[in-house]
Symmetry: C2
């Protein structure tokens, strides 16, 4: 029987090596500060947690610029992104003071900042936050979904954004 | 400014519509029953929860065949999959009595069932389980990583398995 090619005994290096072999869908999460200003970030951890009732989970670093605002937010908008949203994904992962460009976003339900260029925006209520070391798992209830134009899904893999490729089945 | 194309006010249908536009990496999670037998399932919810310390989260339906075994498991193996693992991904998502074929798996650390054909296997210790409605979020500590052969990452999107495509940046 074949063996594994190698073992990485340092667990942090091992996790990084494994996730370089794993691809993710790309989302943008937005919310409001206590003052009502838009904040948000690009996330590759958004995943469905069941559809009845409709729940979504995502992970966030507690050292991130958005973390203190998440702690007081009642609602968030989770945007699924398409290939045409590449620049948005890059901007929402870069300098946090430059993420919201005038005329690129608008106010949606609960005054949340929404990007109508996204393939969808899930309007969600924050339900649970579980702190785990320097990170947190956020669980939200989906209240409503806004659908944008159809597009290829945007993926992240090996530090690059990419489109889906050849179907295997 | 452009508007969204449509709104889905039923939250369950809205979640499904949004996630049809989102792609995921594919993993297989394995563990042992109390009797030491191999069980496991295909998961599209595996995501990193920080690398220092190395943590991973994944979601599971509490009605799944593996759920009662997860509740008593101390360790799990999380395998990232490549395109050559298509049949494994399909089998671990089908009839739970047919998932482990003789000579296709072997015993790894903690006697966990491992697939050496996967691109990696993260050997993990179960840390936290958070029940949320009919589902659960599982958080694990990564202890060790076994690396398989390099391969295209396996993706799941719109009910199909696929390879990554064109890089956009």
């Amino acid at each position: 029987m074949p063996e594994f090619v190698s073992a990485e005994s340092d667990p942090s290096e091992g996790l990084k090596a494994a996730f370089r072999r794993h691809a993710s869908g790309v989302a943008v999460i937005t919310l409001l500060t206590a003052e009502g200003d838009p904040v948000g970030f690009t996330a590759t951890s958004v995943t469905s947690l069941g559809s009845n009732p409709p729940l979504v989970s995502f992970n966030v670093a507690r050292g991130s610029s958005t973390w203190p605002h998440l702690l007081q937010a009642k609602h968030v908008a989770i945007h699924t992104l398409g290939a045409t949203n590449l620049a948005l994904a890059q901007r929402m992962a870069a300098d946090h003071t430059q993420r919201f460009v005038p005329n690129d976003w608008q106010r949606g339900p609960h005054e949340l900042p929404v990007f109508t260029s996204a393939t969808s925006a899930l309007i969600c209520k924050v339900r649970e936050i579980h702190n785990v070391e320097n990170n947190a798992v956020i669980i939200v209830d989906v209240e409503q979904t806004l659908l944008g134009a159809e597009d290829d899904a945007l993926l992240y893999h090996q530090r690059h954004y990419l489109k889906p490729g050849e179907s295997l089945n």
